[in-house]
């Protein structure tokens, strides 16, 4: 297929259909309502299911019910809406059901604002719901990448029987870029008969399936948590993705940044290069699992004097960067979280100040 010019939110919607996901439940919220608007007519073209739920709370459980019935299903929302869905996400993790959640982040806390933000990093990677639950979290930096991530998210959710989240800042949903769609994928979880409550008559054998997260026996609950932990550890071994930019040669500063923010950093890096200042960039494409080794090794390069974590939050990912660098280099945070994206000039200035003698 040739390239088309599409708004991020609409590309997300189309990518899900091409990933074979024909079931969508959602509640409107800025800045991602275009996904629902697009799918409200597009789903009927492909005999899919579109339903606008009465709240994000209800939508979370519509996702649960549909996932439990063994179909591909997804929803999209933005920060306050994801907070409301986080209860259901915990239940999905506990019951080991696959589903895809897209969070097009806006500023917080509370109602915050409707402009782009990356302030749900902690929520997505460390505290999505009660209990020991984790999401596989992917962070796109372009419309093309969000399409590819949406399409890989479904098979990954099914591989792990765990929800996957696409964590994009508001710009990813709102900007228009040329995009090319990969081929269609198969449309159903291939392993569903082992766990889905999709009707005994519709499976081989006569065993019934229970979709549940309640384990009153302490040993059984511990066993379930060990099973979940083993999956999260496997994600760490098999699913880490990142981009290394300008890290082949020597560099005096390493930037760690993701999403739209990383693109601004690349512009700054190119300008600095022209001035003779080399800066490397690690851009995590998965936020959980985190590219721990890549960040650690890039920071420890002998030419590297400092590490900058630049994000559209008040300092969230920087805690992971510090954890990875393990004190080998000074780590500094820079960011904004009102809706304005830090400019290349701000980053250039920051790098120069970092390198100037005290």
């Amino acid at each position: 297929m040739s390239k088309v010019l599409m708004k991020g939110n609409e590309a997300i919607a189309e990518a899900a259909i091409r990933a074979g996901c024909l079931n969508y439940f959602a509640y409107p919220i800025t800045p991602q309502s275009e996904v629902a608007e697009y799918l409200s007519w597009r789903m009927s073209e492909v005999d899919g299911v579109f339903l606008q739920g009465e709240s994000e709370v209800a939508v979370g459980y519509m996702i649960f019910g549909a996932a439990g019935a063994g179909v591909r299903v997804f929803t999209t929302s933005s920060s306050p809406g994801i907070s409301l869905m986080s209860e259901a996400i915990s239940y999905l993790c506990g019951a080991q059901l696959p589903a895809v959640f897209v969070n097009i982040m806006r500023g917080g806390p509370g109602l915050g604002g409707i402009l782009p933000s990356q302030a749900d990093y902690f929520q997505a990677t460390k505290g999505i719901g009660h209990g020991d639950c984790r999401l596989l979290v992917m962070a796109p930096a372009s419309v093309q990448e969000v399409v590819e991530m949406v399409m890989t998210a479904f098979p990954l959710a099914e591989k792990y029987r765990n929800p996957v989240m696409i964590l994009g800042d508001g710009l990813i949903g709102q900007m228009m870029e040329p995009v090319e769609f990969p081929d269609h994928l198969k449309s159903e979880p291939t392993n569903k008969d082992a766990w889905a409550s999709n009707g005994i008559d519709f499976r081989k054998g006569s065993k019934r399936n229970l979709v549940r997260s309640l384990f009153l026996d302490p040993e059984k609950l511990n066993d379930n948590n060990l099973e979940l932990r083993a999956k999260y550890e496997r994600m760490k071994r098999e699913e880490v993705r990142f981009e290394a930019y300008n890290t082949q040669g020597e560099y005096s500063v390493l930037i760690v940044s993701y999403g739209t923010m990383s693109r601004v950093c690349k512009t700054a890096i190119e300008t600095l290069k022209a001035e003779g200042i080399e800066v490397g960039l690690i851009r995590p494409q998965t936020l959980f699992p985190y590219p721990e080794i890549a960040v650690r090794e890039a920071a420890r390069k002998s030419s590297c004097r400092a590490v900058l974590c630049i994000e559209m939050s008040m300092g969230q990912m920087v805690e992971d960067v510090e954890r990875c660098v393990q004190g080998a280099r000074p780590v500094q945070w820079y960011g904004k979280c009102g809706g304005d994206v830090p400019t290349p000039e701000e980053i250039i200035d920051l790098v120069k100040r970092t390198l100037s003698p005290m």
């Binding site: 079931n23 439940f25 299911v49 339903l51 739920g53 009465e54 709240s55 709370v57 209800a58 939508v59 979370g60 459980y61 519509m62 996702i63 649960f64 019910g65 549909a66 996932a67 439990g68 019935a69 179909v71 299903v73 209860e87 259901a88 239940y91 019951a95 409550s197 999709n198 009707g199 005994i200 008559d201 519709f202 019934r208 399936n209 229970l210 979709v211 549940r212 997260s213 309640l214």
Partner: protein
Amino acid sequence: MAKTFQRPRAMFEAHTHYCPGCTHGVIHRLVAETIDELEIRGRTVGIAPVGCAVMAYNYIDCDFQEAAHGRAPAMATGIKRVRPDLMVFTYQGDGDLASIGMGEIIHAANRGEKFTTIFVNNAIYGMTGGQMAPTTMPNQRTTTSPFGRKTEEVGMPIRVAELLATLVTPGYITRQAAIGPKYIQKAKRAIRQAFQYQLENRCFSLVEVVSTCPTNWGMTPQEAIHWAEEVLLPYYPLGDLKTPHDQQSKEKSCKAK
């Protein structure tokens, strides 16, 4: 000699964890008998609530999902929308449905989701140990209304069946009871009717079943039945509030923009 009464196929041979005098076991049986009679076990998915019936799947033998508190109607919506060929029922208590899950049941009913809800109303929270519910009667003592429900502070009990019957869309709304053989026979007919409507893909259906909770009411099973008849039934009258037959004719069509 032919058997005239036996355990339904859709029910496990198991002792329930329910208290003496509790009506959940009876209502479970009515659901299981219906599943047998309609021969739908292999394509039925039940949704267990948070409440005493959280482990209903230990007694009713079909596919099950376990809900978060109050969210069963949203889950049933999710299943039924993506698999309309499945038979889906939620089994919910009054804390689950009438308190934390009120939003979900109203909207599922109003969309006319074609699943069936069995709503067990015993006027109290059971599993958490007898706290006040939205259905608790005026002056009824519970662990969170030790001096009796004060209606000037928390209002009068909610009549769920009547409330849902004010909506234009839902098809079959009825209130029954499980507090004696004559009531149970009628409740059975209503539950079967509700599943039948779903089988015909006709409408949303809800059967409210007035029940007892001797343990948390602080009564013997016998006293509980008397109290239900004397106090609950006058406030929660039995019978059909809405059927698919009396639905179409009453509403004038709305003007579209």
